[in-house]
Point group: C2
Chain length 369, copies 2
């Protein structure tokens, strides 16, 4: 068997993505300097959000206090896990900066690509996703949260959204779908065009009218972004600006690779108990430590591949100085793997305890149609 | 060059359709006996509506005075011509029988397949189509007339209609699209799925709920019917009955073949003046008469291929006895081609004069969104 090629499509993500190479191929720019306000958020400060297209428009809108939109979607399957925190943090970050948030529940995509009923999608979206987002600090009352199957209670808005999906289809070819997605079915094609409408429609006059739209994604979602941008460029009869996007690294699964909702040994769910977290980190979390205590003390550990350290860096240790000390001590061999895991367990459980308390108090019903 | 094959798809209709063969291939049944009420309409009495699928459901609904829907669409391009009268007559016929009428303006299909703007489609649909339908006797206030791009002022209805388009896409394959349509583009595919939603959605609970739906079409539209029926059979999570359809012959163009909006020498428009009608029939209408007066008197003419006679039979001579006499006299050679044309001109102009007067009085604005 030939070695599996590194394929980046929304339907399939191989474990060993070459981020540098892929982002170069796709014409994405590395993020260099950002305004100071971004550095409050560790995802930007630590370059976990590492690349972009057209982020300048967003920076300008923030500087000039002009209207802009952050658009994102959620696939309502499985439990919310710490991998989902990356987008949630960005949602909260942009909302605080004044962005109008558009959040689509991809229930039609779940129906077409995963044969999941709309009812099940609705329940998971509300119980797992939106409730957790609210507990994390999102203000749902200032978001436009909607289901793909049921865009709005306002008919003008619903018509405009689905109309756009249909109009866009004229401006794309099968060859493009195949180049972007590989295999394509009618269901996937409709989902893809509806997702393009998700990304583009905030700019329609029935919604926010022309304004910058930022869409934070993992690199595997870039084919959707590219397709939406390519189509946008071709549509001449509707006033549309080009969408902006940022790209973040994935939160790796416990044993490396991608954190996957379908593999419980790969993730820590936001509903996990302290005991479960302890067990999972101790049992599954890949360690960058050496095999023996002696070697570790002598040569030190490697935090760059240590899952516990990566979780602290990406999500749970907000204090740069503390993080730097952990990194230094681990690299030097002063800090042992078990000790690093204990720090991670403590930080994660402290976060989850607080989060689970907040979650139990969330009252959501009035924000969801 | 090989001889063009007889192809029956909505995108292309060859001139020499073999109706018998095609309807047999597609599993359509010939219409035999219909309840007496149908025979008031010459289209049924004279077997111009010649075949069907599942018409029994409609007959039952009429007999039992139960709710049923007649669904039809219009492509808003060109002028309304006498070829369009076939469907218009059936609309009026079924409305009188108590059907709820659904009429879709295929403006998204016009956008995707013909690059026509939605604005232009709207204007043509109202000025050319709906106004003429109303003048012909349709009561727009009892119809659900809508644009594909703007389904309803009621958000629940709009969401349900476009949701269905998206849900249906899971239940169809590319191979089926290709088998039915030949070449297919994303734009055509979306249009085709939206048309399936047009045909199926009256049965949704947001509209009429489960009830029979009759869709009168030319044989060239049957691929749409088959596709909608095939999909309907596969959808298990929405209560849907099977749609019914009838098939009518085309009104032939003046020189034979199909009457086409894009060829003014092929049609008589509902806005044509008496002079234009006279000129067109005399100049272009294919005649079944013999080449010389002597031969005609001796051998007689052939009404079966005579366009003037066909127009009288399909549309303009309601009186069976008068029609039979014309046919007999023409076949015997007693009636000359010029005389037959004069009869047709007189009947058509009498119809158009009356129609154009009615049309000038139609006030429509309140029925169209």
């Amino acid at each position: 068997m030939p070695k599996e090629k590194s394929v980046v499509t929304p339907w399939k993500v191989s474990k060993d993505i070459d981020y540098e190479k892929t982002s170069k191929e796709f014409g994405i720019s590395k993020i260099d300097q950002l305004p100071e306000v971004f550095n409050k958020e560790i995802l930007f400060r630590r370059k976990i959000v590492f690349a972009h297209r057209d982020i300048g428009k967003i920076i300008n809108a923030i500087k000039e206090k002009k209207k802009f939109v952050m658009m994102t979607g959620l696939m309502p399957t499985g439990k919310l896990h710490i991998g989902h925190l990356l987008v949630a943090q960005q949602m909260i970050f942009y909302q605080k900066l004044g962005a109008r948030l558009y959040i689509t529940v991809a229930d039609l995509e779940a129906y077409n690509a995963r044969s999941q009923s709309l009812e099940e999608s609705k329940q998971i979206a509300i119980d797992e996703y939106i409730t957790n987002y609210a507990a994390l600090g999102l203000k749902p009352e200032h978001c436009d949260i909607y289901f793909q199957s049921n865009r709005s209670k306002n008919a003008e808005k619903s018509n405009a959204y689905y109309r756009l999906q249909n109009l866009l289809s004229r401006h794309v070819t099968f060859a493009e779908f195949k180049a972007v997605y590989g295999d394509i079915t009618p269901g996937k094609m409709l989902s893809s065009l509806l997702q393009a409408s998700d990304m583009i429609h905030p700019q329609l006059e029935e919604f926010e009218s022309l304004c910058p739209v930022i869409i934070p994604v993992g690199l595997d979602q870039d084919p959707h972004i590219r397709l939406a941008r390519d189509i946008t460029q071709r549509v001449k009869d509707i006033p549309l600006g080009q969408i902006s996007s940022t790209y973040h690294f994935f939160v790796p699964g416990l044993s490396g690779g991608k954190m996957s909702s379908s593999d419980p040994t790969s993730f820590i769910a936001l509903t996990d108990s302290a005991e479960e977290v302890k067990r999972k980190i101790n049992k599954y979390a890949f360690s960058g430590g050496k095999d023996t205590l002696e070697e570790h003390r002598k040569y030190g550990g490697n935090p760059d591949i240590d899952i516990s350290f990566i979780y602290l860096k990406m999500l749970f240790e907000q204090d740069d100085k503390k993080l730097a000390k952990i990194e230094k001590d681990y690299r030097s061999g002063k800090l042992l793997s078990g000790e690093l895991k204990a720090i991670a367990i403590e930080k994660i459980n402290s976060f989850l305890k607080d989060h689970q308390q907040k979650r139990s108090k969330v009252q959501l019903s009035k924000f969801i149609s």
